[in-house]
Symmetry: C2
Subunit: 395 residues, 2 copies
């Protein structure tokens, strides 16, 4: 907790993200029995709402777990010990796929791209072509939270399809922030978590799984229990829908409210909001004279990452922002620690969150001796906001 005029807390990380008041409030309602009609109504409505956000007709299989639990479900259901699997990574969360495949004994081909760059679909294509047996699956990340980079999942899906293998995508920080039209792009497995752009607390993990992927999983039914897709699919397809294990009822209530907020805003409007906020963040970073980390894409709308000036103590930036100003942003992970700062804007974020984060970043930089005029970053963001226009109020 900071003090004085810095008496409020601003969470600008890519998860947990801020909760809308209506989401917080519904969790204070009396808890429900998970077999009561009142809960089943909420559960079924939220399961349906998830399909809209995942842009799919699949059942979105849901687990009481962190997002990593959904990643594990993909590996546990698709990977077979000793059989080939391919991971293409370019950051910390991509590497998690590799760790999971190793834990499950896959004959792993791990294509490692430099952090901050994009996965090259051609390299994945070549790797798949070079295998002596078909890969059980290819595992990639959509929005790589450690770098801010958005990978080309559409092309990766067609590459996987051309080799008749499954593509599993970690869309934990992307789902609900940037579009991933799963069925249109032909992505077999998309996994996500509740705590990012879905505007809920951590605790629910999702795997939207195609029939083809379910069939692939059914070929090898052992070696998993809690994360078994068939168990959860069988439960969710019952009338009324059921969960094989006690569902996290409170977070389901939160999710139900959050999904209805997304529906009311309109999914395209949600993506457009993220795009404007990201443009404003990028403009602020540029105005501060900071170099953007990662490719100069205009679709990296989940997290904005920037190199910190060499002249200052980079690790002090997120620390001073948090301890001095009450603003929590992320620094770099792994070898990027102290080198970059990451401002997230996936979920319940608005224009003045970006103004606040950029002003705080600027103040921390100035405090550490960096030379720039106060108001520079906020002004650049403000220009973007003015150009984006003021929307009509929603009744």
């Amino acid at each position: 907790m900071s003090s004085g005029v810095y008496n409020k807390s601003y969470l600008m990380t890519a998860g947990p993200t801020p909760l809308p008041p209506a989401v917080s409030q519904v969790m204070a309602e009396p808890i429900l029995y998970h077999r009561a009609p009142a809960f089943i109504e909420i559960y079924e409505r939220a399961l349906n709402g998830l399909k809209s956000v995942f842009q799919t007709d699949n059942d979105v299989l849901s687990f009481a777990a962190s997002g990593s639990g959904a990643l594990e479900s993909a590996v546990a259901n698709l990977v077979v010990a000793g059989e080939p699997a391919v991971v293409a990574s370019a950051g910390k969360f991509g590497e998690r796929w590799a760790e999971l495949c190793q834990a499950y004994g896959a004959d792993l081909t791990h294509l490692e791209f430099e952090w901050g760059t994009k996965i090259e679909p051609e390299a994945v294509d070549r790797a798949l072509a070079g295998l002596d047996r078909p890969a059980r699956a290819v595992f990639v990340t959509y929005s790589e939270t450690s770098t801010g980079v958005l990978h080309d999942v559409e092309t990766l899906a067609s590459v996987a399809r051309s080799h008749e293998t499954i593509l599993a995508v970690d869309a934990v920080s992307a789902t609900g922030a940037v579009s991933l039209p799963q069925d249109e792009w032909g992505v077999d497995v998309v996994v996500a978590g509740s705590q990012k752009a879905l505007m809920c607390p951590p605790g629910l993990a999702f795997a939207s799984v195609s029939d083809r992927a379910l069939e692939t999983a059914a070929e090898n039914p052992g070696g998993r229990y809690y994360f078994d897709w068939d168990k959860t699919a069988t439960g969710q397809r019952k009338t009324p829908a059921d969960s094989p294990f006690t569902p996290a009822v409170t977070i389901w209530r939160a999710l139900d409210v959050a999904l209805r907020m997304i529906e009311a805003e309109g999914l395209d409007n949600v993506f457009a909001r993220h795009a404007v906020l990201a443009r404003a963040a990028r403009a602020g970073i540029a105005a501060l004279g900071l170099e953007r980390f990662g490719p100069d894409d205009d679709d990296a709308n989940v997290v904005t990452a920037a190199y910190l000036p060499d002249s200052i103590d980079g690790a002090a930036v997120p620390k001073n922002m948090r301890d001095g100003l009450g603003i929590t942003v992320a620094g770099g992970q792994g070898h990027l620690k102290g080198k970059i700062v990451r401002i997230a804007h996936c979920g319940y974020y608005g224009a003045f969150d970006i103004v606040t984060a950029l002003t705080g970043l600027e103040m921390a930089l100035i405090e550490l001796g960096y030379d720039c005029a106060p108001g520079t970053a906020a002004g650049a963001a403000e220009k973007v906001l003015i150009e984006a226009g003021s929307p009509e109020p929603v009744a």
Copy 2:
């Protein structure tokens, strides 16, 4: 409710003011019976805490009412129909004293000063000297919320004392924002409400009443009931403390938490925080090229009021900020409607609230055709914040 990137609400008015999360949360606790020990403990602790904030040894008499109820209590207990009373006003809330005195049939001398100017203590002195019978009381405002002006209560108290009359001060928006050392300044009556710098919802009204004022009230016991000071004083002085009418138990719980937050921050630090925020707001206003409304005082730390440019539609400014950007500020009241804008910073406000309000004001001005560079206001506020320094984090 606004929309798109303007999806959040920012309340920058002088009441109701934002509630700290801990205050909101305690109101969600199960409601208490007002004679239960659990409530009495809260009630007595809050009654004591009020004395610290009012800087007095008086009992702070408390009513379930809006702030205006506490004003009425002062008039109902002090004014006698047909007897002289003096009101000195320079704004809308000062005029409320006059309306109350008229409602209670006082032989009223109303000294009206121009809105935005300060009450002249010498004029009050002359008015009191010119009366043929002693005034029952003099009624003034400390922080005039309609103009932002802070009146010279210390001198007014000595003027009233020299005429052996009672001074009653409306400190509704001032209490807990700017210092009013009631006992040190010898102010007989200070009234306030829960919904401003005390960081609570509206619903509790306070009158800190000296023994001399209680004795004056006792001379004429009739013509009042709910707001009778003696009834409430008698109740509050019991062991355990009691209220003659059902206390608003939920708001008392809120107040108990809010007062403990003020105690933890330290009253002097609370005043210092308000001073820095007000300086930042004034710097932003000046950088925008707006003329400050009211005298050029550096102690008007409750509300910052500024003239809007003649070239634009002034009434559109608060409307566009609210409907377009989600930021609620106040325009002018009475004849100042459309002429001024008022940014309040009394209560649970912090540095980035000011940055947000100023950025929103700037955006609304630009939208209406006013010429200024984006980032101007935020930059000026940021400079003040940097100069004020980053406080040590509180554990």
